[in-house]
């Protein structure tokens, strides 16, 4: 492959790819596919994450995934689950009062119950790890910068919140060291107070300073929107979100009236979009060097979509691959394998990250 200049991929492309993977994971309980997806996410992160601080968070997500799997399995042992099957370990059941009928504490542990817990946990873990991969690959701040201009205020608030956290940690460290330099009450309440008061004062002062600095640099200049227009925008966005919620619920709950399903969802999306456009129109801001959307972004996006589509196909066409159940040995079909390979392609398709020079 010819040499490409290093650049950071558009954050939206990475998130779309990761959501595709997460969707595929949500369609299946096949442990082989799930392990495959986690592997793919890890490979892509290893190849394409930059040396920036947020990239280090991927390891945390891996640990979180492991924790989820362990918790699920432990719950299965504690509370049982699937009735009947091959008993691995016969624990005595602890009798519970009448009013918790339906809950069993301990009792026989079956291999079916354990496997069901394991697969379930792995599915959730895989979804979490896919989101973690997106977080590690795309600068969260650049993602926020890419929000439509109608959401600009919220985006800025989030950016500030993201920035504040490391500063709060700095200030906490400083105050802890400083308080060791003086005598004072050593009781529990006293200690907490000695620590919290200066940290909070510091945080408050910092936020006022930042607000003043942003104000003097033109943040929030009026864009010429009247009160009525603001109300209209707010109503559209809120109404749209409500519609999306109702629609999603109706799509998932098959007993709900059909008119609330797809039509409602579509209406909600339209209203929300109209609200965003209306809000965006009154913003007179421009963007400096926005991330570009080029071929590599399209390819990465396509890989994510394809992976999600394969997951959906598996459920429809090859149910035993998607959900092997607990009584048979899981296996991979050529289609599932192809999905995994496609999902891994961004490891080479995406350009090398532009590592900040130090």
């Amino acid at each position: 492959m010819r040499h490409r200049p290093a650049r950071d991929l558009h954050p939206v492309a990475w998130w779309a790819w990761a959501i595709g993977l997460a969707a595929a994971a949500s369609f299946t309980t096949n442990p082989l596919i799930l392990i495959g997806l986690v592997g793919v996410a890890s490979i892509v992160v290893a190849m394409r994450a930059s040396a920036q601080p947020w990239a280090a968070s991927f390891r945390l997500y891996l640990a979180l995934g492991a924790l989820i799997v362990v918790t699920r399995v432990v719950f299965r042992i504690l509370f049982g689950g699937v009735e009947g099957g091959q008993v691995l370990l016969d624990l005595p059941e602890i009798p519970l009062p009448e009013w918790v009928a339906g809950v069993r504490l301990l009792g026989p542990v079956t291999s079916e119950s354990l496997l069901a817990g394991l697969y379930d946990g792995m599915r959730l873990a895989a979804i979490v790890i896919c989101v973690g991969a997106a977080n590690a690959l795309a600068n969260p701040k650049r993602l926020l910068a890419a929000v439509p201009s109608g959401l600009y205020e919220i985006g800025t608030a989030l950016v500030v919140a993201v920035t504040i956290f490391p500063q709060l940690a700095d200030s906490a460290r400083r105050v802890r060291a400083a308080q060791a330099l003086r005598g004072g009450p050593t009781g529990r309440g006293g200690r907490v107070r000695r620590f919290l008061v200066p940290v909070l004062e510091d945080a408050l002062e910092r936020s006022i300073n930042l607000a003043a600095a942003m104000d003097t640099r033109g943040y929030g200049r009026a864009g010429g929107a009247g009160m009525g227009q603001r109300w209209a925008t707010g109503a559209l966005v809120l109404g749209g979100l409500l519609g999306v919620c109702v629609g999603t619920y109706a799509v998932l709950d098959t007993t709900a009236p059909r008119v609330l399903a797809l039509p409602m969802l579509a209406l909600g999306v339209l209203a929300a979009l109209a609200g965003l456009v209306s809000a965006g129109r009154r913003v007179t801001r421009t963007r400096y060097r926005p991330d570009r959307w080029l071929l590599a972004e399209m390819l990465v996006l396509a890989c994510g979509l394809a992976c999600g589509y394969v997951g959906w196909l598996l459920v429809r066409e090859q149910l035993t691959v998607a959900h092997p159940g607990v009584s048979m040995v899981p296996y991979l079909s050529p289609l599932a394998l192809a999905g995994l390979v496609v999902a891994a392609l961004p490891a080479v398709l995406a350009p090398e990250p532009r590592v900040a020079r130090r």
Binding site: A178, A180, T216, G218, G220
Partner: protein
């Protein structure tokens, strides 16, 4: 261009106004310096121009603010952003984004400038301020001077007509401060920018100022050329004070100017005796102390002795390892190598431990550590958490096991007359420092370390602090004070240690070390040559010259 007319600002209806019917006119291409004691209203005056006062501070504002004879009194700061740029004291606190390039573009994005224009202005500004190398760097990793230049750049990209700066050099080392001031002068000379800056370390900015605005208090404002205004000012930089002592008229404002006239003055004077290093017992000895922050060495093999009765100044540029060294000496900071020994524990006032033992403070718990070595950190307010001065003092007594009232008595001795029911936040910068100092001293340490105590102190407050440190030295304490302020070091220290990249590059008596260094030489040394540090030495020498007999008798 911009004019304040009869501006009055009072924070409380009943209280005396901070600004009382003030008039000020700023012309195109001027550099105007605002000076005065802390809390006298410098920041308030700047805030009236930027619009932050009264919006962010409260208070009642009356009068008129005119831009090209149009009123901007009721415009909020954001609507003034394209013609008034504001840079605050702490650049890091005002950064919105996290890399240099994005920060430069932020203001322009808010103004809604077309992308082509933004790109061009960012590149121009990077070149103008010498930031091109740093364009991708994270703001937090820059040095103080670089951060301040980025902060200036980030308002310059909006092409304001007036640049307002609130003590832009107060947290910078002498070299970085020169760098920022040189940048500002260049803007005034080359671009015709109008600059209004508040500053209380006048010695550095006077040569660049076209006009000086002095706030003497009681809401009044005096303005004129620096020479005129300073003639009657109660607090002046050393160069003007020297001019007064020597009877030079008009007072010189640049070192070059003063040096020319000084030749005659020095001819008849007896140079002051060389400063002798404190010869008291060694109270703290550091051997090859090293500190490493995640693999980067911050302090590298520093040897240091602090003597009873001696004040040592620790100098060096920002990031040279001063703070790391101070924390390591106290024992709270992590040390990756070397030894620290605090001597003569029996004298330190703690019972139950072998007398005259050499103790390493890092081996002790926090309470015993602070009985050996006291430390006043850079942000002294981190130590305070109660609502009144009296309660802070009582908590300190209790924590140190001292008899009630010990801390309050100490405070009264350091800075008399602090109201005991005041909230520590309402104290002046200097009073708050004194309170922290008293709290730290309540544990009766014999060794005292201070990290940048002069930040934010005006001339009288610095003089007060110098007196306090002198008294402590007289009471057989060993004092180490890290500072950027060369005039303060010349006033208070008898020994100076200069750090660079975590290593000691020069140490010795104050007159030798400061005299040899181009960056750290105080103004009097620059004018009169090595050996001379302070104006009071010149005063004494002049007195001796006039009445040699009296000195002989004495």
């Amino acid at each position: 261009m911009i004019e304040l007319r009869q501006v009055t600002l009072a924070f409380e209806e009943s209280a005396a106004p901070i600004l009382d019917r003030v008039d000020l006119r700023l012309e195109e291409g001027e550099l105007v310096v605002v000076s005065g004691r802390t809390g006298v209203g410098k920041s308030t005056l700047l805030g009236v121009l930027t619009g932050l006062v009264p919006g962010f501070t409260g208070g009642r504002l009356s009068g008129e603010v005119l831009l090209d004879s149009e009123s901007i009194l009721h415009l909020p700061p954001r609507e003034r952003a394209h013609f008034i740029g504001y840079v605050g004291q702490d650049p890091l606190a005002g950064f919105v984004t996290d890399t240099v390039e994005e920060e430069l573009a932020y203001g322009m994005e808010q103004l809604g400038l077309p992308p082509g224009t933004m790109r061009r202005r960012v590149e121009e500004t990077l070149d103008l301020l010498g930031l091109a190398e740093l364009r991708d760097r994270e703001l937090r990793t820059l040095s103080g001077g670089e951060q301040q230049r980025v902060a200036i750049g980030s308002v310059l990209t909006m092409h304001p007509r007036l640049l307002v700066l609130d003590e832009p050099t107060s947290s910078l080392d002498p070299t970085a401060a020169e760098e920022v001031l040189a940048t500002l002068t260049r803007l005034v000379h080359d671009l015709g920018m109008t600059v209004l800056m508040a500053e209380h370390r006048l010695e550095r900015v006077l040569p660049f100022a076209d006009r000086l605005v002095l706030l003497p208090g009681a809401g009044r404002l005096v303005q004129g050329t620096p020479a005129e205004v300073l003639r009657h000012s109660p607090v002046v930089p050393p160069i003007v004070e020297l001019g007064r002592v020597a009877g030079w008229e008009p007072a010189p404002l640049t070192v070059r100017d003063a040096r020319r006239r000084a030749r005659e003055l020095v001819r008849g004077l007896v140079a002051p005796a060389p400063v002798e290093a404190a010869s008291g017992r060694v109270l703290l000895r550091a051997d090859r102390v090293a500190v490493t922050h995640s693999r980067t060495p911050a302090v590298n093999g520093v040897d240091l002795s602090l003597h009873a009765g001696g004040v040592t100044a620790l100098m060096g540029r920002n990031g040279s390892g001063k703070s790391s060294l101070i924390w390591a000496l106290q024992g709270s900071g992590r040390r990756s190598g070397g030894r620290v020994a605090v001597l003569d524990r029996a004298e330190a006032g703690a019972a139950g431990l072998p007398a005259a033992a050499d103790l390493d403070p890092a081996d002790l718990d926090a309470a015993s550590r602070r009985e050996l070595v006291g430390l006043v950190p850079q942000t002294a307010a981190d130590l305070l958490y109660l609502e009144t001065v009296a309660r802070e003092c009582a908590a300190a007594d209790e924590g140190a096991g001292a008899e009630p009232g010990a801390c309050a008595a100490l405070l009264e001795r350091l800075v008399p007359g602090i109201e005991h029911h005041t909230h520590p936040r309402d104290l002046s910068e200097g009073q708050r420092l004194a309170l922290v100092l008293a709290i730290v001293l309540t544990a009766r340490p014999k060794v005292l370390l201070l990290d940048e105590p002069t930040r934010g102190l005006d001339y009288p407050a610095k003089e007060e602090l110098a007196r306090v440190l002198d008294d402590l030295a007289d009471a057989e304490h060993a004092v180490l004070v890290a500072t950027h302020d060369v005039e303060f070091a010349a006033r208070v220290a008898d020994e100076v240690v200069v750090l660079a990249e975590g290593e000691v590059v020069s140490d010795g008596p104050v007159d030798q070390v400061l005299g040899e260094s181009p960056a750290f030489a105080p103004q009097v040394t620059k004018i009169l040559g090595p050996g001379w540090l302070r104006v009071d030495q010149v005063t004494a020498a002049l007195a001796e010259q006039r009445s040699p007999a009296g000195v002989l008798d004495g």
